[in-house]
């Protein structure tokens, strides 16, 4: 076509803009600062509640400790009583077992005391000896404290 001037195809003045290669994702939810804020808020609340919980637990422990101290003499006495009861049972059982043996004295082996030491006290014997007249199953129940005397 006449009258049409030749025009070189050129980039726009100032050059092309940067290529948009990044994916455009709309921003959703809270911002990073907000998330941090919420997390810190929740955990500070939790720490405050934890403070009360720990105080409660300390008071509870104190109470339990006092109760244990108060009960200790009673438990000790009960333990001694059970121990003596078992000794009495052993004595009675031995009396009954050995009644036909002439000259047998209970608690001794032909006159030699085997349940008293030099100080005339009962020494710590093996559990097998202490529960000598029980069935073995009962003995192990007692040794492992699965059953009280």
């Amino acid at each position: 076509m006449p009258g049409m001037k030749f025009r070189q195809d050129m980039p726009p003045p100032g050059g092309y803009g940067p290529v948009e290669w990044a994916q455009k994702i709309p921003r959703r939810g809270l911002s990073g600062y907000a998330i941090f804020g919420v997390a810190i808020g929740i955990s500070s609340t939790a720490w405050i509640l934890y403070h009360f919980e720990r105080n409660y637990k300390r008071r509870y422990e104190l109470d339990m400790n006092d109760a244990r101290i108060a009960l200790e003499p009673l438990l000790e006495a009960e333990r001694h009583r059970a121990f003596l009861k078992q000794l009495r049972k052993n004595r009675d059982e031995e009396n009954m077992l050995m009644k036909d043996v002439p000259g047998w004295e209970t608690g001794t082996l032909y006159g030699e005391p085997c349940y008293h030491n030099q100080a005339k006290r009962f020494p710590d014997v093996k559990p097998e000896e202490y529960f000598i007249h029980s069935r073995w199953a009962d003995m192990y129940d007692r040794i492992w404290e699965r059953r009280k005397h």
Partner: protein, 309 residues
């Protein structure tokens, strides 16, 4: 005595059943994540699938590689499963059979013993793939165990007790709310401890065929598999015990614990369906350069907070 034994046996049996259905759950969930149906052919909706698998695996012929060290080869899968089940004697019921005072310490002991099953299995197979897989798996487990112990220590500083039963019955504030970052690194560490998916370098199929258990087949493979899934359930249980305290609810105390455990077990599957495998050096860097300093600083933080509050 018999009473105790029977109760423990019932406990173990129920754990095994839970583990069996957990494998089915995993296959189903992975199926739905990948937009396909999971196993649905065996009988009613594919529900007895795990039992079919077990029967198949245990009736197969057991083969032993001629170069393997026979006794350790037989022994190691059994040891793995025994250790995995041993965790469950610590299960904190609301009406427990016995009261382990130092349950948390026993948990740490057993979880560090767990490495030996893998070690023996990999070494006894006398195969280079198995050995390499075992070495990878052991290096990973031991590295993450360091940070696991430290995380647990800072949790225990806050919990003020080693007793798991006390933790579940009288712990009202949960560590996941007190120190959220601690819980996050704990969960990632448990993923690495159980050699689960983003960190399952021990069975890199592309390089190592199947990792430390290549040479195992039939019954012994089934035992290794069962140990692995029991460990996953165990880890989810201890996550919910240590990090999610709960309010005692009378006879319903046990139910929230079970629900939380199920949620974390599901999370394990979800992670497997979502994340790709990590590179090995990145895994090690994560353990030694991020988690170790982070868990140490969390320990300092929790100790100082305990002193302040």
């Amino acid at each position: 005595m018999m009473h105790l034994l029977i109760c423990i046996l019932i406990n173990y049996l129920l754990v095994m059943v839970a583990m069996a259905f957990f494998t089915l759950l995993e296959r189903k969930v992975l199926g739905y994540i990948q937009i396909r149906k999971g196993p649905n052919k065996v009988s009613l909706m594919g529900l007895p699938q795990p039992f079919a698998d077990v029967i198949k695996l245990f009736t197969k012929e057991v083969s032993f590689p001629s170069s393997s060290n026979l006794y350790p080869f037989i022994f190691s899968p059994m040891m793995g499963l025994a250790l995995a089940l041993l965790f469950w004697s610590l299960y904190p019921y609301s009406s427990p059979l016995f009261f382990p005072m130092y349950g948390a310490l026993l948990f740490l002991c057993i979880s560090s013993l767990n490495v030996y099953a893998t070690l023996i299995a990999g070494w006894a197979s006398n195969s280079k793939y198995a050995l390499l897989g075992a070495i990878r798996s052991i290096a990973q487990t031991i590295s993450y165990e360091v940070s696991m112990a430290l995380i647990l220590l800072s949790a225990l500083i806050i919990l003020l007790s080693f007793n798991l039963i006390l933790m579940t019955s009288s712990q009202w504030s949960s560590i996941s709310l007190l120190l959220p970052p601690l819980f996050m690194i704990w969960f990632i560490t448990t993923l690495a401890e159980t050699n689960r998916t983003p960190f399952d370098l021990s069975e890199g199929e592309s390089e190592l065929v199947s990792g430390f258990n290549v040479e195992f087949s039939a019954g012994s493979f089934a035992l290794i598999f069962m140990a692995e899934y029991t460990n996953i359930l165990t880890m989810s249980l201890f996550t919910s015990v240590f990090f999610f305290g709960m309010i005692p609810l009378g006879i319903f105390t046990d139910i929230p614990l079970v629900l939380k455990t199920m949620f974390f077990a599901f999370l394990f599957i979800w992670v497997r369906g979502t994340l790709p495998r990590m590179r090995y050096d990145k895994l090690m860097n994560l353990a030694w350069k991020s988690f170790l300093p982070l868990s140490l600083s969390m320990m300092i933080l929790s100790t100082s907070l305990i002193i302040i509050i």
